[in-house]
């Protein structure tokens, strides 16, 4: 099993660590910390006067300060002034009733959206983690598909399905003569947020569920606990880290949500993010915008920190490596179980309708002739009849002029290349960080891991100084970890603005010649927190004994990681990979700010089609986006499973089912 390694590697001098740690650090400093400093600076200095209209372009005035130290001192002073401005801005926002009600409403709807996402996500996760049925793998792979749909397509799907003139209302009107007003209200916003975020919960919760050692549940059962009691006292506490992760992500997304809120709720339900957009983009009030973004970030990070605390609190390392058993999905013979099965079946059916309805409506819409077309296709009721593939023909036309725009066909290729690159960069950046945050750096070094410190006090009781140091380092790790989540918690409008500033200045400006690289960097900044968030709980669930045993048997650290920890944490890693892939596929605001001519992605093409009144083409593009991402998810998951488990490992896992 152990490969022969060069002498320097076997003697422990093989420090993969060097490169593995340098890369994420450099990446975060360049693409996250630096842009954010520029954003803060922007607040202090404000818009610089852009003088010299007729002057040559090379003669732009530079700061007069000479010497590196002088410039550093000047920069430091600017940052201090900026922080002063920001603090004053935050104070103003805190006192202003207009902003206060805005923030209150935003947090309230995010909280409700999170609850709804958990309610919808848990049953699906339960189904996927406990039962085996035909198409389970496919369903598992496809759960994340709604997550990549551009908000405007989700809104269109909702309007087609639940709108005043939607399928549901037409059915209700025909059957019962009533119409329901469902959209353009708070519940509509909550449902749409749940539509997006429940899939994320399904991923994180089922990753936690599959990591549960069945011995625990079996032990509880053999001691006489009822299945219900086992669920409440054994299973659910073990699921808390997964639920906390998913809920943290759902909360942050709902808190920062912008286009979906406007599309399904309208301006009457404007959120903080809408206000930031107005301040920065419409009114060009960078100070107010940045101060609002800061308040927003602090709030969403505070909530995330709460979840992280919860996640750490409930994390229990497991000893066993037995896979979670899967039951065959069948109708119970025991009559008593019927009621609960019925409830479960109805719940799942309702969820299926909830998801399939809007997506199916989009598919149907894309194959209908354009509305407002007049002519014979439009019936008297205003309902368009007949079918056409005209919209798809338009999307798949390769001779579309690639000089001015980009052909829809090419945008599919661009999206896939960018998303694959983003996924790889995010994995390379986030895996070492997740490993560190999970406290696994100490595992295998002879000192017990950070998490079971109290439980294993027996074999080496550390002195108080060490305890303090451990506590401090744990606290410091938590702070750094929360900060590493920042890209998720920062307003996308503000982050886009910061990236634009950063990519226009010397160190990164070179990348402007290659917009694709700039876009991959921006996407990776947005995507790597997903990998951390999904990988960390999975790593934490592995007890320190297993890698330690591997080390004792002669494996070096990399081998222990590669052959023991990585396969056990594979579900988390895969979820993170898929989420980062999905994030890149659906991102638009940073892409628009950085893209050059003739570089378009699928969602941007969709927006172009919309603004060109090609609503049919936009629906077709949304369906293509769904189909392509669905295929990719299935593919990535298949390759990932193969990569981690190997062909035999997969069968070994399967035999436990």
């Amino acid at each position: 099993m152990v490969r022969r390694l060069p002498v320097w590697a076997r003697q422990g001098r093989f420090r993969l660590g060097g490169l593995v740690w340098a890369l994420p650090t450099l990446f975060l400093l360049t693409f996250l910390v630096y842009p954010l400093i520029l954003l803060v600076l922007q607040v202090a200095v404000g818009p610089a006067p852009l003088s010299a209209p007729a002057g040559p372009p090379g003669a732009m005035p530079l700061p007069a300060t000479s010497g590196v130290f002088g410039q550093l001192a000047a920069a430091g002073q600017e940052v201090t002034t900026a922080i002063g401005h920001l603090a004053r801005g935050v104070a103003v926002i805190g006192q202003d009733p207009y902003f206060r009600s805005l923030i209150r409403f935003t947090a309230w709807q995010a909280l409700l959206s999170t609850l709804l996402s958990v309610l919808i996500g848990l049953p699906i996760a339960a189904l996927l983690s406990n039962y085996t049925f035909r198409g389970r793998a496919l369903l598992r792979s496809l759960t994340l598909v709604p997550f990549v749909l551009p908000p405007i397509s989700v809104a269109l799907g909702f309007i087609l399905m639940y709108g005043n003139n939607g399928w549901l209302n037409r059915f209700l009107a025909a059957a019962f003569g009533v119409r329901l007003s469902l959209l353009y209200s708070l519940p509509a916003i909550l449902l749409a947020h749940a539509f997006y975020n429940a899939p994320v919960l399904v991923r994180t919760v089922s990753a936690a569920w599959q990591a549960i050692d069945p011995s625990l549940e079996e032990a509880a059962r053999s001691l006489g606990a009822s299945p219900r009691r086992v669920f409440w006292t054994v299973t659910l506490p073990a699921l808390v880290p997964g639920i906390a992760t998913g809920a943290a992500l759902a909360f942050v997304f709902s808190f920062l949500s912008f286009p979906l809120v406007l599309a399904l709720g309208g301006a009457r339900f404007a959120t903080v993010e809408v206000e930031i957009y107005t301040q920065i983009r419409i009114l060009l009030n960078y100070r107010t915008g940045a101060a609002l973004a800061l308040v927003e970030t602090i709030l969403s990070l505070a909530f995330s920190y709460g979840y992280l605390w919860l996640e750490g609190r409930f994390a229990r390392p497991q000893v066993g490596v037995r896979p979670h058993p899967l039951h065959r999905l069948e109708w119970p013979r025991r009559p008593g179980a019927w009621v609960s099965r019925m409830v479960a079946a109805v719940t799942l059916a309702a969820i299926a309708v909830f998801y399939v309805g809007p997506i199916l409506a989009l598919v149907v819409q894309s194959a209908r002739p354009a509305a407002g077309g007049g002519g014979p296709a439009v019936a008297a009721s205003g309902v368009v009849s007949g079918w056409t593939l005209q919209a798809y023909r338009y999307v798949f036309t390769p001779e579309y002029d690639a000089i001015v725009g980009d052909s829809p066909l090419a945008s599919i290729r661009n999206s896939l290349v960018l998303a694959t690159a983003t996924m790889l960069v995010s994995l390379l950046v986030a895996t070492p960080l997740a490993y560190a945050f999970a406290g696994r750096l100490r595992v295998g070094r002879g000192v017990a891991g950070a998490v079971p410190a109290e439980g294993e006090a027996g074999h080496l009781r550390p002195c108080w100084g060490r305890q303090l140091a451990a506590r401090l380092s744990r606290w410091g790790t938590a702070v750094i970890e929360t900060a590493a989540m920042a890209p998720l918690a920062i307003s996308s409008v503000a982050l886009g603005f910061a990236l634009l500033q950063a990519f226009n200045r010397p160190p990164l400006a070179g990348l402007r010649g290659a917009p694709a690289l700039a876009i991959v960097a921006a996407h990776s900044v947005l995507a790597y927190p997903f990998v951390i968030r999904t990988l960390r709980p999975a790593l934490e669930a592995i007890g320190p004994e297993l890698p330690e045993s591997a080390r004792l048997l002669g494996a070096n650290r990399w081998q222990a990681f590669r052959t023991v920890e990585l396969p056990l944490a594979a579900t988390g890693l895969l979820s993170g990979a898929l989420l980062s892939f999905a994030m890149s596929l659906s991102e638009t605001s940073a892409t628009i700010l950085l893209a050059g001519p003739g570089l378009s992605t699928m969602p941007i093409t969709l927006y172009h089609l919309l603004s060109a009144r090609n609503f049919g083409g936009a629906s077709a593009m949304a369906v293509v986006l769904l189909a392509v991402t669905g295929l990719c998810f299935v593919g990535v998951e298949a390759v990932g499973q193969r990569w981690v488990y190997g062909r035999n490992g997969r069968r070994a896992r399967g035999s436990a089912e």
Binding site: R3, P47, L50, P53, A54, P56, M60, Y98, S101, I152, L156, G163, N164, L186, P259, L262, A263, G266, A267, R268, F269, Y277, T278, I282, L283, L284, A370, G372, G373, G382, D401, A402, V404, G405, R413, V417, A421, F497, L500, Q501, N504, G513, A514, P515, A516, L517, W558, G596, P597, L599, H608, L609, L610, S611, R613, C632, V639, R642, Y645, R647
Partner: protein, 397 residues
């Protein structure tokens, strides 16, 4: 069984499978036996390398690298997405390059007008503008453009085609911008739901209880047609709580929603969510010319419509050699040749009064009897306060 036998062909299979990101199924041949631990890392590195090459390929069309191709001079023009994907950009490019040999016209338009303007401002603040000319600035962004010194003052003598542009469209006394085209924000209604004789004709008509939840408005805080409609109500009813705010208070029950942007609003309208939407006065001409349908019709209110002017200008700091070209381009954009393309490609009225209108366009595109437009300086001075008061009035919480 678990011994890692180094398979001679194994690595090759692995790499060729993994280098095809678009076809993940091709890599199904990988198994753990043929892919030992360290070569997995190598495979990742290999895939990254191949991706980098692919990305560099994607970047080939980029602004920076295209210059190396030929001794051509480039003129980079920022505009909004639909001007390129739908509008006359392609035709303009063809004709301009034909009349200017050795010149390459590059359109950059990944976003809407506001986004592209924000991108340009951001680039200018970092003193690294990539654009020479901006086409399609919304008139509501003009005060910001002046404050940020985005455009350089123009010498109107170098733009002879300006002689056919009506003086009322020359919005900037400082001569930093010239008009591209103009249009009117009005109401559009579905004549299959509202017969033309029953359609609202005044602002007061819109308040009737029969239109409860029948109007789709657009958010002025996020989109320019929405802002135009808000400004229209301010122009009509005046500032303050007894003016436009009082009107909006009465209008609120009749609004189905206030959509985030024009695309959302118009697709809701086309889906039959409500029979009235805030939109452009050329929509009927559009639907007649492209679909031979007169279903969607225009309603001016009190004979009014709010006028929007789209502007263009030369970006600050463009060097002198390109400046000449930029002037020639602006003059070309104002020529009757280009302006005649505007109506049926960009669905706006041309700025050049000599440009001929196609007969169907002239017949169905509505010019309100009384165009309304607030002066740009007034808007700039009060916009934030108006928006805030409106937002506080309209909020559901």
């Amino acid at each position: 069984m678990h011994l890692c036998v180094s398979h001679p062909g194994g690595r090759k299979v692995a790499s060729s499978g993994l280098t095809a990101p678009a076809a993940p199924s091709a890599s199904s041949t990988i198994s753990r036996r043929t892919l030992p631990a360290l070569s997995c890392l190598q495979a990742v590195v290999l895939v990254s390398a191949v991706l980098l090459i692919g990305l560099a390929g994607l970047a080939r069309n980029g602004v920076g690298t295209a210059t190396a191709a030929a001794p051509t001079q480039q003129l980079v023009v920022y505009t909004y997405d639909s001007f390129v994907n739908w509008g006359p950009a392609k035709e303009i490019q063809k004709r301009f390059q034909a009349s200017h040999p050795g010149v390459e016209l590059v359109w950059v338009a990944p976003g809407d007008s506001g986004t592209m303007f924000a991108r340009l401002v951001g680039e200018l603040q970092a003193r690294r503008p990539t654009a020479d000319v901006f086409v399609g600035l919304a008139d509501s962004d003009l005060p910001a453009a002046i404050a940020q010194q985005v455009f350089q003052p123009l010498d109107y003598r170098l733009l002879p085609n300006l002689k056919d542009v009506p003086a009322r469209l020359l919005l900037d006394p400082g001569r930093r911008v010239v008009p591209l085209d103009h249009g009117f924000i009005t109401l559009v209604y579905d004549s299959q739901v509202i017969p033309p004789d029953r359609a609202p004709k005044t602002f007061a008509d819109l308040l009737q209880p029969q239109w409860r939840k029948k109007i789709i408005a657009i958010d002025p805080a996020a989109s320019s047609p929405g802002m135009a409609f808000l400004l229209w109500t301010i122009a009509r009813f005046g500032d303050g709580p007894d003016g436009y705010l009082a009107y909006w208070k009465q209008l609120a029950p009749n609004l189905l929603t206030i959509a985030g942007g024009w695309s959302e609003a118009y697709s809701m309208f086309e889906q039959g969510e409500a029979p009235m939407v805030v939109s452009y006065s050329t929509d009927m001409a559009y639907s007649y010319i492209s679909n031979h349908s007169t279903r969607y019709r225009i309603a001016t209110l009190d004979g009014q419509g709010y006028e929007q002017v789209e502007l263009m200008g030369i970006v600050t700091g463009v060097d002198s050699s390109r400046q000449r070209l930029a002037y020639e381009f602006l003059n070309f954009m104002l020529s009757t040749e280009v302006q005649a393309l505007i109506p049926t490609t960009n669905w706006m009225f041309p700025a050049n009064s000599q440009a001929p209108l196609p007969p169907d366009f002239a017949r169905y595109a509505v010019t309100p009897a009384q165009p309304v437009r607030l002066p740009a300086e007034t808007v700039a001075a009060h916009r934030e306060q108006w928006l805030r008061a409106w937002s506080a009035q309209i909020r559901a919480y």
